[in-house]
């Protein structure tokens, strides 16, 4: 206490005596009050936890608000539902494992890895059964890929609906996978020449199935067992999932238990009734696997308002494409009258999230924020209205239109659409 008492007056004396120049940079009256953060805090005096207090470390309790969230009214039941990655709270490009959004059709399968098998059969020379131990003896690779649900932004087809990029764009995550090229696993069984399609099936109670063309299966798919270096989380398919880079998330079958080679697609529920894109004329597109180039400003955004007032402001967001890399993102703060090339930062690899920044001086006036991704094939992210002109409003899936946030003079942001 004596120390504090001695420090207090001397600090005030310094501040008041430091002249008008220093005081002038502070908000009116602030110079007279001590900053309570400049103090001797308990953590400066008391001993903290020793090692092993948390053998598996968790975020600071001050970060408790950084979590996945669901939208309850979307689905009938939480075991066949979705929650969303808190994109507005994250930076960089890698999604922490515990924050990767979840989508299950019959809940999280509780798989015992010792009792898990991967069966490969159908049009193959030698039908196989692999244990997890067998899988880990194939040569493996590491790749960072985004996984986006085809229904990401699906609630926005008819107009702005959800206030927060977590809800409008949070059915996406981006992690480093460790796994075996699917090609090696299939070649171990020997694909017959007429084998043109692959059926992947999960071990959950939905027995999730998707048909995958052999060309993709042999190209860049992985049979993955690690994410960001550690075992897959149960909700992401522990102990093993399929990775289908750049293609819609539903195909990345979790809890992968079976691969069947066939000569034609199976047309199962998730590629007929669901994950087909109904157009305005009543005709539906099927097998719309690739994810189009897309971007979103993650801050400022409705859940991440500007709280600091006018002055230097960091605008940031994410961009991605299922067809390659993102060499360029354009940003506007005036609703699209003038655009600026954003600064790309961090690694740029195909079919992975990219981070962009636009650092600007906010004048305190209302803003209309948008971002527009360009991918390495020359595709430019379209407006929502451009998409609607071609597809109507009933597609549910593959909404990659440009997102607008309106920021008011207080820095609060809202999901809007503009002319």
């Amino acid at each position: 206490m004596t120390d504090k008492n001695q420090n207090g007056p001397s600090r005030r004396a310094f501040l008041t005596g430091a002249g008008a120049a220093a005081a002038g940079t502070l908000a009116g009256g602030a110079s007279a009050q001590a900053d309570p953060a400049i103090a001797i805090h308990p953590w400066m005096q008391e001993l903290g936890d020793g090692v092993d207090a948390a053998p598996y470390g968790m975020p600071s309790p001050h970060e408790a608000d950084v979590k996945r969230r669901t939208v309850e009214w979307l689905t009938a039941d939480p075991v066949s539902s979705i929650n969303f990655t808190p994109l507005h709270d994250l930076d960089g490009t890698i999604t922490p494992n515990g924050l990767c959004f979840e989508r299950h059709h019959s809940g999280v399968a509780r798989v015992d890895p010792a009792q898990h098998r991967l069966m490969i059969h159908g049009l193959v020379d030698k039908p196989l059964v692999l244990t997890m131990e067998d899988l880990k003896r194939f040569p493996r690779q590491n790749h960072v890929y985004f996984l986006e649900c085809a229904a990401n932004s699906g609630m926005e087809w008819r107009g702005s609906q959800l206030n927060g990029c977590q809800f409008t764009h949070g059915m996406i995550h981006n992690v480093m996978y460790t796994g075996v090229p699917l090609r090696l696993v299939l070649e171990e069984a020997g694909i017959k020449p007429e084998g043109k399609w692959l059926l992947a099936e999960g071990a959950d109670a939905a027995a999730m199935t998707r048909s995958i063309p052999m060309e993709k299966a042999l190209d860049d798919c992985l049979v993955a067992f690690k994410m960001n270096g550690e075992a897959l989380r149960p909700e992401q398919g522990y102990p093993v999932r399929l990775v289908v880079p750049g293609w819609e998330g539903n195909m990345w079958v979790k809890w992968l238990r079976r691969l069947e080679v066939g000569d034609q697609p199976w047309h199962h529920r998730e590629e007929t009734s669901k994950y087909t894109d109904l157009l305005a004329d009543g005709v539906a597109r099927r097998f719309t696997w690739e994810m189009d180039a897309k971007s979103v400003i993650t801050s400022p955004s409705p859940q991440a308002p500007i709280t600091h007032g006018p002055g230097p402001t960091v605008l940031t967001g994410l961009a991605w494409s299922g067809r390659g890399t993102i060499p360029r993102v354009d940003v506007t703060i005036d609703g699209g009258i003038t655009w600026h090339e954003a600064r790309m930062d961090g690694p740029s690899t195909p079919k992975a999230l990219h981070r962009f920044y636009y650092d600007f001086e906010w004048d305190g006036k209302p803003l209309l924020l948008q971002s527009r991704a360009h991918d390495s094939t020359g595709y430019v992210q379209p407006t929502k209205n451009a998409l609607r002109e071609i597809r109507g409003e009933n597609s549910i899936y593959h909404n990659n239109g440009i997102q607008t946030w309106a920021v008011d003079a207080d820095g609060k942001a809202e999901n809007v659409e503009i002319s």
Partner: protein, 351 residues
């Protein structure tokens, strides 16, 4: 070998993937193992097992095992999938996508019912039951008459009306030209107006950072301080509740997984297909607000039925035997120790 020939070989090896040397990992899958897991069915009939089922049988099975979620006429309860109707609605503002209006192939119905239904008890139906349910779903969609029998022999003849209304992904042809133009960067439009706001609909989940913080503050303020006069409250003799057995509760939580597709319990529980179960043990039957009970359950409630452990045990062991006409389409918990565990869990999770 000439250089040209080498190149040609390499090119052909790249075009049609030639198997790498196998590593000799894993073991051969036996035909029996494959048969157990290989349940998929294709539109051409590949994978379809021998069997048959008629509409009337399908009606019975559907009413018992499917209607609680999908509705008696396939209309769907709550947000559960609608299975019937919607024909001709696909180009409407609000299309109704059902088996009859949207699904292209009947094989998909058989395959999906067989692999994933009933919800929470997948792969429990016999082949004939799946045929019967599939036949009944055709009937609900006005595709067949009530005397229709679906079998492995006539399956290939069955066609769904919307089969032709699907086309392959044509984004590259239809969209790419327009979406690959160099966009405008300056003076792109004279002015800009907001045309729609999410706040108008206001369907965003309530909880936000600010609200969470406010709640935390409230909770702190509401917490009784150590000095609070709780000790001064008049001492009331409370009947000693049976000591909770954590192992039993834990076991009961596992058993409860069977119930979870229809019931919720705990502070955030809401009515689903079945009512919220908070306070069910030793509580009055049919007492959850806003839940539409079956007639017999409402009558039993009226008559003053209380879910004592013994009554609840009898109900859980055989719901339809205990109460004919209950909406609870659940076959029952077989083992007595599972019922005891479940009741312990229901008691604990209500608190």
């Amino acid at each position: 070998m000439s250089r040209f020939l080498k190149f040609a070989l390499l090119a052909s090896a790249m075009a049609s993937p030639v198997a790498a040397e196998p590593l000799g990992l894993g073991r051969a899958a036996t035909p029996e193992e494959i048969a157990l897991w290989d349940i998929d069915v294709r539109p051409d009939g590949l994978g379809l097992p021998a069997g048959s089922g008629d509409v009337m049988t399908g009606d019975k099975i559907y009413t018992e095992k499917c209607s609680a979620c999908h509705g008696v006429f396939g209309e769907g309860t709550g947000r559960w999938p609608v299975l019937a109707g919607g024909q001709g609605s696909l180009s409407d503002a609000r299309p109704v996508k059902t088996i009859g209006s949207y699904w292209p192939y009947l094989s998909t119905v058989y395959d999906y019912v067989n692999r994933a239904m009933p919800f929470g008890n997948a792969q429990s139906l016999t082949h004939d039951e799946v045929y019967a349910i599939t036949a009944y779903l055709l009937y609900l969609n006005d595709e067949v008459d009530e005397d229709f029998v679906l079998s492995s022999d006539n399956f290939a003849e069955a066609r769904l009306p919307n089969e032709e209304a699907f086309k392959p992904d044509d984004r590259a042809e239809v969209e790419f030209a327009a979406f690959k133009e160099e966009p405008c960067m300056t003076e792109c439009k004279p002015s800009v107006e907001i045309t729609m706001r999410a706040a108008v609909l206001d369907v965003t989940p309530e909880e936000t950072a600010a609200k969470a913080a406010a709640k935390a503050e409230e909770a702190q303020a509401a917490e009784p301080t150590p000095e609070a006069p709780t000790a001064e409250a008049p001492a009331v003799e409370v009947a000693e509740a049976p000591a909770a057995d954590p192992a039993l509760i834990k076991a009961g939580e596992k058993v409860f997984r069977k119930c979870k597709s229809c019931h919720q319990i705990g502070a955030k529980a809401k009515n689903r297909v079945g009512p919220v179960l908070n306070g069910i043990v030793d509580g009055p039957a049919g007492a959850v607000e806003d839940f539409r009970y079956s007639k017999p359950m409402a009558a039993a409630a009226e008559a003053g039925l209380v879910w004592t452990e013994s009554e609840l045990s009898a109900f859980l062991g055989n719901p339809k035997g205990y109460m004919k006409g209950t909406k609870m389409s659940f076959p029952g918990v077989r083992k007595e120790e599972d019922i005891a565990a479940l009741i312990a869990y229901l008691r604990d999770a209500s608190e």
